[in-house]
């Protein structure tokens, strides 16, 4: 018998969280969902790595009305693709080849070599339809809804909204990032999914200071930091002096870090939006002749016909 849980958040966040809890961690009838109203009709972008969770919940996102595959998602009006920039040449990462080719006369920007392919697996859905589909699953399993937060319950704050903020500190807040505005809403599902995976792995824990809860908090906080860094790069005043930006500019390197929520292509896109382009290249690029470089550029550009 699990202790009663109240999940609070905007409908999509709250029902997805309730579904995951009911599936993996708690008795469904011990879970109550308290919805907060979404600030505006939002669109979320579901990533391909959410497919496993959806499948385990019995949700086929192709059946969600209005859902559509997309090649990019937008944050603060900036396009972020999942598909890679160009292709490596004999094991050398594309950006190094591109900088070297630029010395030899290549004029296209790196963006010209991203196909922004919808086959990368991104799917845009309206939060209302997504929440409805999840609510049906959760209710079918025995999850209830409520209108007030019971302070005796373990409170899980699934989303960011003023009402949900009020519950922070009394339980588990899956994210400190705010995705309630349309400009950042496309990151909401990704952040929530990461939070849920961490919650499922770490477990609920008994108190706010037990080792499981501390491990969960650390992991969530690490995600929050990465999201903050990512969003800041897309904002009006990006920090281009950070080690991440310097490594990209000076080394053409997307630095490897623990708990990284984003792919190399996403970081590259964010850094390019921040105005940071690689200036230097790896020594291995020196071995390519001008013909090899230009031939490779042409081949990569041909795979991204819409951009060139």
């Amino acid at each position: 018998m699990t202790n009663p849980i109240t999940v609070i958040g905007d409908p999509a966040s709250a029902w997805l969280t309730a579904c995951a809890l009911a599936r993996f961690l708690a008795e469904p009838d011990s879970i109550t969902v308290v919805e907060t109203a979404p600030a505006a009709p939002l669109q979320w972008v579901l990533r391909p790595d959410m497919e496993k969770l959806h499948r385990s919940l019995g949700l086929d996102i192709r059946q969600i009305p209005g859902g559509e595959p997309v090649g990019v998602y937008e944050v603060l009006g900036r396009e972020i693709p999942l598909s890679p920039f160009g292709a490596p040449l004999q094991g050398v990462a594309f950006q190094h080849v591109w900088v070297r080719a630029a010395e030899a006369g290549e004029t296209h920007s790196l963006w010209a070599f991203n196909a922004k392919s919808s086959s990368a697996g991104l799917c845009r859905v309206g939060t209302a339809s997504y929440a409805s589909a999840l609510e049906r699953i959760a209710r079918g399993a025995g999850v209830k809804d409520g209108v007030e937060v019971d302070p005796e319950h373990l409170i899980i704050n699934a989303g960011s909204s003023p009402e949900a903020d009020a519950a922070k500190g009394a339980g588990i807040a899956l994210s400190q990032n705010d995705f309630s505005a349309p400009a950042t809403a496309s990151l909401a599902a990704h952040r929530l999914h990461l939070g849920l995976k961490a919650l499922i792995k770490c477990g609920l824990g008994d108190t706010s200071v037990d080792p499981q809860r501390l491990a969960l908090t650390r992991r969530l906080s690490s995600f929050d930091d990465h999201f903050d860094t990512f969003i800041a790069l897309l904002g009006p005043h990006p920090d281009t002096s950070s080690h991440r930006a310097q490594s990209w500019r000076d080394l053409g390197r997307v630095i490897p870090v623990d708990d990284d929520p984003f792919t190399a292509a996403e970081w590259i896109a964010a850094l390019l939006h921040a105005g940071v382009t690689p200036q230097n290249y790896h020594s291995l690029s020196l071995r390519f002749s001008r013909d090899e470089l230009m031939g490779h550029m042409d081949a990569c550009a041909a795979r991204s016909p819409l951009n060139v």
Binding site: F24, L25, R100, E103, A104, I200, K201, C202, G203, G205, D210, P211, Q212, L214, A215, R218, H243, Q246, S247, R249, D250, L251, R253, I255, P256, V257, D258, D259, D260, Q279, N280, Y281, H282, S283, L284, S285, L286, R287, R290
Partner: protein
């Protein structure tokens, strides 16, 4: 196009394992860029020959530079290593193997030990579900299967080798790829106006200039410390062992495919079986045991007749404050030292070479590459340190002053939290970068009696009797698979025996 590269001439100082691995690695990985690699060494200076026991990663390094595995094994009189047996660590009389491989089979991202904790606890140790442990105990070996569905794909292997033979083997390989070797002892280091190293002067009067210097000069750190005064982070407050004595002996008994680390009164003792001899050593803390005592205890415990005089080593556990400082990169013992309890010395050399090759820019600001290199290497050192320390603190031993002191030691927060998390939930705090994945932590926790109070709740969704039956079936299947393998000694004799002249050397 104009060649504006940052580093055209690389000079490596020191010709031990680190030096020749670096030379062979850079020449193979970056040779096509036209860099020049020069190695300076003096035959008059002995090598420490770190790391007779290795980790599976070395296989990939050797492959990446084009080394034939069986030729390498024959030349270094290598045997196979499937893991490390830890004796007397949790309690006196205990024994477990930290295997190079997984427990059980993959299951939806849930660690096997959670299933074992719920369904099989009491029905035998978790080692019964580890193929490399079963193989090691039975003295069996065959290379892993490439079929992911096969239980014979669930392990990896490393080597137990004569490290003093590895450097000469690599030297041939490196020289074939254009590395220039200069014999000579360094007597001076010349600095450029900006403080970088400009050249090194040899006893012969010759000067060797370079753009980038790799310090593989061993503990002294002739360039990174004596010339550049980089500084050293001393970690003896966590890992206080500071001496080792080593001696080889004749074989006694079968050729075992694993290393043994036996906890002793003030440290621990290694045993590493090679084709032609057994390497032995005693790592200890000089605050609790004097050198002669340590040597006597080692010699008295040998399984065979000693074939050399014991050799003493002194070290300070820790690392340089910057492993890449100015135009000098410290690789090997010059960069830092962590006791060889988990055979990490050669791994750290390998990672140093790998990161250096990754960051080998043709153009740009060197400072950014330095920062990134140091960040990645610091991570490697920190994570290995925590894992080594776990062996000393996850213990019930309090029978000597040394063990009582270790039990009372203050742990880094990062490790304390990891241990508490495992105790309460069976969860292993994992990371994406650095050595030692979940099965390694599980091996040491469970092997040293850190038992979890709980398990992953997702395991409750698996049907009880069916899962128990599956585990029992898996155990039987692994035992049968092990029984069907050739003996390790036979596999060595058939595939990579040391040439006669080496075997008797």
């Amino acid at each position: 196009m104009v060649d504006t590269r940052l580093h055209q001439n690389v000079v490596i100082l020191g010709g031990g394992t680190a030096g020749w691995m670096t030379a062979a690695g850079l020449a193979s990985l970056l040779g096509s860029t036209g860099i020049s690699v020069t190695l300076v060494e003096s035959e008059a200076i002995g090598i420490v020959g770190v790391g007779e026991a290795t980790l599976p990663h070395l296989r990939f390094f050797n492959q990446s530079i084009g080394i034939n595995e069986l030729e390498f094994m024959a030349a270094t009189r290598a045997t196979v290593k499937l893991g490390i047996e830890f004796v007397d660590w949790g309690r006196k009389g205990d024994s477990y193997i930290h295997p190079f491989g997984d427990y059980g089979l993959p299951n939806d991202g849930i660690g096997f030990h959670h299933f074992w904790r719920k369904f099989a606890n009491g029905a035998g140790p978790i080692c019964d579900y580890s193929l490399p442990v079963l193989m090691a105990r039975e003295g069996k070996f065959a290379p892993p299967s490439s079929d992911d569905r096969s239980v014979l794909s669930t392990y990896r292997f490393a080597y137990q080798m004569d490290a003093t033979a590895y450097a000469p083997f690599l030297r041939k390989h490196a020289e074939q790829r254009g590395v220039t070797r200069i014999e000579g002892r360094v007597v001076s280091v010349q600095r450029a106006d900006n403080g970088d190293i400009a050249s090194i002067g040899l006893e012969s009067g010759e000067t060797v200039a370079g753009d980038l210097f790799i310090d593989c000069s061993g503990f002294k750190g002739l360039l990174i410390e004596e010339a550049l005064e980089t500084g050293y982070e001393d970690w003896t407050q966590w890992l206080p062992c500071d001496r080792a004595v080593a001696v080889a002996c004749e074989h006694a008994g079968p050729l075992l495919p694993y290393t043994r680390a036996t906890a002793r009164e003030a440290g621990w003792q290694w045993r590493i079986p090679l084709q032609h001899r057994t390497g032995n050593g005693h790592v200890y803390c000089s605050a609790f045991l004097d050198d002669q005592d340590a040597e006597d205890r080692l010699v008295q415990s040998l399984e065979g007749r000693p074939i050399a005089q014991p050799r003493q080593l002194r070290f300070t556990t820790g690392k340089r404050r910057k492993l890449w400082n100015r135009n000098c990169v410290a690789i090997g013992l010059s960069g830092g030292f962590l006791e060889p309890l988990e055979s990490t010395s050669i791994y750290l050399i390998q990672q140093g070479i790998t990161y250096l090759a990754e960051l080998f820019q043709a153009t740009g600001r060197v400072e950014t590459a330095q920062n990134e290199y140091n960040r990645m290497m610091d991570l490697e050192f920190d994570r290995i340190r925590d894992f080594l320390l776990l062996h000393y603190v996850a213990t019930e031993r309090d029978d000597t002053p040394f063990w009582r002191a270790m039990r009372a030691a203050t742990l880094p927060d990062s490790l304390q939290e990891k241990i508490e998390l495992f105790k309460t939930s069976g969860q292993v705090e994992t990371y994406d970068h650095g050595l030692f994945l979940e099965p390694s932590w599980v091996a040491v926790y469970l092997g040293q009696r850190v038992t979890p109070d709980s398990y992953d709740p997702r395991v409750d969704q698996f049907p009880g009797q069916e899962t128990r039956n599956r585990l029992a079936g898996l155990k039987t299947h692994m035992a049968k698979a092990t029984a069907g393998l050739p003996s390790h000694a036979d596999w060595i004799a058939r595939n990579c025996p040391a040439p006669e002249d080496l075997a008797v050397a």
